[in-house]
């Protein structure tokens, strides 16, 4: 299903898909060889497992961004949505965890994170659709607000009962190399992979997707066939916020287990780059997110093993630098939804 949807979507036919498959395969094999050379089998497994988990918040953020832009609303507030969601999900984990068992607390905390992202999405929709504010400013408002509020209300020393644990998928998890990477992950990571394919299908194969793409490309065309453009933008930007919220919940409930000030660390913006690199498609963005995550995981492993004597600052920046290089080399001419960023005002 996944591959067929990609073919349908790209429209430029087999050659384009083949090109990307070859590129993806090439990168994967090169990455594998490099890792085996440097870190051996154990280290390689660690890098690849880390890649998948590191990619989770990026692809979730990118899906948030692309649902918005496909609907005609540019969202640069993903960073803020993630941060606020991460914070509230963490607080929920702390305080609800004092009265409820962990098994109940964590799902509720995840839902609170998701709801936080969605509410901030609703806020963005209100600013950009109802108030007709500039969407970049709307996004900046969310980022500033989130950073300010979370930094102000955060107090150190809060403790939780625990975080989301890995769920081995039965015998699959025991397959050498592949098992620990793909089939031994915590729940949000699994859910995210499913969401990538669901959203890909939804965008290009369902009524919702067709209408969503139409209001982001040519809203008046949608309006003249009876589609309520602004209502749909509200709905979609709110829904998109839920994805960013899930990314936030991932950070505090699955990856780290606690909150730090400014812990999203630019992931919301990297997610936007990932979205563009992925040509505003979930599967494309997933590939881009994996690439960036791989660089991060690789850099971390390098520091970990102390193999290379490069100052850690440079190792730390390498994922960003390499992403820029890859974007420049292979990004090519990217064309986003035509009406993204424009207010729709029919009369």
């Amino acid at each position: 299903m996944a591959t067929t949807t990609v073919v349908q979507e790209q429209n430029s036919g087999m050659s384009s898909r083949t090109k990307w498959l070859i590129a993806g395969g090439g990168i994967f094999i090169a990455a594998l060889a490099l890792n085996l050379y440097f870190f051996g089998a154990t280290g390689t497994t660690a890098v690849f497992a880390a890649t998948l988990r590191q990619s989770t918040p990026l692809i979730l953020g990118a899906m948030c961004g692309l649902i918005g832009e496909r609907s005609g609303v540019i969202n640069i507030g993903i960073e803020g949505q993630m941060l606020m969601a991460a914070f509230l999900a963490f607080l929920a984990n702390v305080y609800i965890g004092r009265v409820l068992p962990l098994g109940l607390t964590l799902p509720i905390a995840v839902l609170i994170g998701v709801a936080t992202g969605a509410l901030l999405g609703l806020f963005l929709a209100w600013m950009s659709v109802t108030l007709k504010m500039d969407q970049i400013i709307g996004g900046t408002v969310i980022n500033t607000l989130a950073l300010g509020l979370t930094s102000y209300f955060y107090v150190t020393g809060l403790t939780t009962q625990g975080k989301l644990q890995t769920i081995p998928l039965g015998p699959l998890a025991d397959i050498p190399f592949v098992g620990p990477i793909l089939f031994n992950n915590p729940p949000i990571t699994y859910l995210t992979i499913i969401l990538v394919f669901v959203l890909q299908f939804a965008l290009f194969r369902t009524v919702w997707g067709l209408r969503t793409r139409s209001i982001g490309e040519h809203p008046s065309a949608a309006d003249t066939v009876g589609i309520n453009v602004n209502r749909m933008r509200y709905l979609n930007v709110t829904l998109a916020g839920a994805f960013a919220g899930l990314a936030g919940a991932y950070l505090t409930l699955e990856a780290v287990g606690s909150f730090e000030r400014g812990m999203t660390n630019g992931r919301g913006f990297i997610a936007l780059a990932v979205m563009i690199f992925g040509r505003w498609t979930p599967i494309g963005a997933w590939g881009a997110a994996l690439l960036f995550a791989f660089f991060t995981a690789f850099a971390t492993q390098t520091q970990f093993t102390g193999l290379v004597s490069i100052p850690p600052q440079f190792v730390g920046m390498s994922p960003y630098v390499l992403t820029i290089v890859f974007l420049a080399l292979f990004g090519g001419r990217a064309r986003g939804p035509a009406a993204a960023g424009q207010v729709y005002d029919p009369e």
């Binding site: 369902t206 067709l210 065309a221 309006d223 003249t224 009876g226 009369e347």
Partner: protein
């Protein structure tokens, strides 16, 4: 044809639409019968589109009532109109360029496999079916952005047919079509009404109305000033109703008094955007006090020629001079400063800055000199003053000189350009398609302005795809074919037949 015995499918009574500060439609009554083509004729800004948007549910009438097939209706939004069989083909196509034909057709009324999942295969079949049934010849899997304009229009028609429309509103459908495409469209329209459906056809082209309409409604300044049949009308009578006064369809002008050569083009060669030679060695002279019209089917190098002469496109080889000075490689500003006025082909792209006010648009060619500016400081009072004067003088209908140019109707946009270009003394006027897509009143006005410039001593080069325009304005007619000027005829020798043959590339036996 007598429509009185036929069933009424759509009726409007007392329709009024008020926008802040504007009465766009004033108490309009309209009746459409089964199988009828009703043409709505009117100048730009006469309220044709407003009226249609009300019938399609995009605007809500301030007053008045609508009946569709005998049922009194209040149209909240287009889906209400669509549900009652009303379809509309907008002047600016409402198609998503990056989607396929089939996707565009089903958008808003999708064929599904259930559960909100699209059935694109079924959609493509349906489009094929409709396409065959009405002889529209459209590939459902093609991307809309890859299709020529005429085909895109057919996609719009299929969209309406798909929704079972039997009342079709066509908003200026021929404005973007080649004559051949327009012929095809008329055939499709006839076919459609022969099946018992009805059409409302908005236009300001008199000839088309007489050729295809069963009934003609004429709008003037928001009011329906008359309903006539083609049999009892002539182009002149329709034009008079449209403009509210007698219109002279032929330009009245004295014989020319040509003086020195102003524009001399020698063996000019220019490439088009794709790098192919589009102007393949043109020789032409235009003298002060005469109008040379360049006739030709579009795409025979006229655009590239004009762009080269105004400094917008580099010259490959050859040369041209203005008032005796070689100007082959001069910058546009230098050419402007030599007293060259340019009315560009695409007024929205090259003629105006759409987001700027009327006043600012009127100084685009001299905003940087006295009295409008002293070094880097602009004098808004002087700019506004001139704009007020020009708006008055050129009869530009705009709420204020501070209105953004994009809010003006096509004819008024063109008048802003003409006003700007003629606001200073000129030696050479280069006008490309000066009256494309504008109403007869504005056409008459602009034609008279061009003749006035000639009589004041300017050399005038007019490029137009409308043979009528060439015939009525020119003192000499140059015909372009395949990048060359194939002949230059004095106006009296330039018959329609002869020009037609030359434009098609045939040699004329002497």
């Amino acid at each position: 044809m007598n429509q009185n015995n036929k069933e009424v499918v759509l009726e409007a009574q007392g329709l009024t639409k008020r926008f802040p500060g504007v009465l766009a439609n004033d108490n309009i009554n309209l009746v459409l019968h089964k199988g009828e083509i009703l043409a709505l004729l009117g100048e730009n800004g006469a309220g044709k589109s407003t009226l249609m948007n009300m019938l399609y549910g995009l605007y809500h009438p301030t007053e008045g009532e609508i009946w569709i097939k005998g049922e009194h209706v209040i149209l909240e939004d287009p889906s209400d109109a669509i549900a009652r069989g009303v379809g509309m083909v907008h002047q600016h196509f409402q198609l998503v360029p990056v989607m396929t034909v089939a996707e565009n057709v089903i958008l808003g009324d999708e064929i599904t496999r259930g559960g909100g999942v699209l059935n694109l295969k079924e959609a493509a079949n349906k489009v094929w079916e409709l396409s065959h049934q009405y002889g529209l010849d459209v590939d459902p899997t093609a991307m809309v952005e890859d299709l020529p304009v005429g085909t895109q229009q057919r996609v719009e028609i299929i969209k309406a047919l798909y929704r079972d429309a039997d009342i079709l509103i066509l908003d200026e459908p021929t404005a973007v079509l080649t004559p051949q495409e327009a012929e095809d469209l008329f055939r499709i329209m006839k076919d459609f009404t022969a099946r018992g459906s009805s059409i409302i056809f908005i236009t300001h082209k008199l000839k088309e109305v007489l050729a295809i309409a069963d009934t003609i409604g004429v709008l003037h300044r928001g009011r329906m000033v008359g309903t006539v049949t083609p049999e009892e009308s002539t182009q002149a009578s329709l034009a008079e109703m449209m403009v509210g006064r007698e219109v002279i369809l032929t330009v009245e002008k004295d014989p020319p008094h040509p003086k020195d050569v102003v524009l001399r083009i020698e063996n000019l060669q220019v490439k088009d955007d794709r790098g192919h030679l589009a102007v393949k060695g043109v020789d032409l002279e235009v003298r002060a006090g005469e109008i040379v019209g360049v006739a030709g089917v579009q795409g025979n190098g006229q655009r590239e020629l004009v762009e080269a002469l105004t400094g917008l496109r580099p010259v490959e080889s050859g040369s041209f001079s203005i008032s005796g000075q070689d100007s082959t490689h001069l910058k546009p500003r230098k050419i402007t400063e030599m007293g060259v006025a340019h009315i560009p082909e695409d007024r929205e792209k090259h003629g105006l800055v759409m987001a700027y006010s009327v006043a600012d648009n009127m100084v685009l060619n001299n905003y940087y000199v006295e009295p409008f500016a002293t070094r880097i400081i602009m004098h808004e009072d002087k700019i506004d003053e001139q704009a007020e004067r020009l708006v008055e003088e050129f009869d530009v209908r705009t709420p204020s000189v501070h209105t953004p140019a994009r809010n003006l109707s096509g004819g008024n946009k063109q008048k802003v350009i003409v006003a700007r270009e003629f606001s200073r003394p000129i030696t050479l006027l280069i006008a490309a398609q000066p009256t494309r897509g504008i109403d007869v009143g504005s056409i008459e006005f602009i034609h008279n302005q061009i003749v006035e410039q000639r009589d004041a001593g300017a050399a005038v080069l007019v490029v137009s795809a409308e043979l009528d325009e060439i015939m009525s304005l020119s003192d000499y007619v140059a015909v372009m074919f395949d990048g060359r000027v194939v002949d230059v005829l004095p106006r009296k020798d330039a018959t329609r037949e002869k020009l037609g043959l030359l434009m098609a590339g045939s040699e004329i036996e002497v």
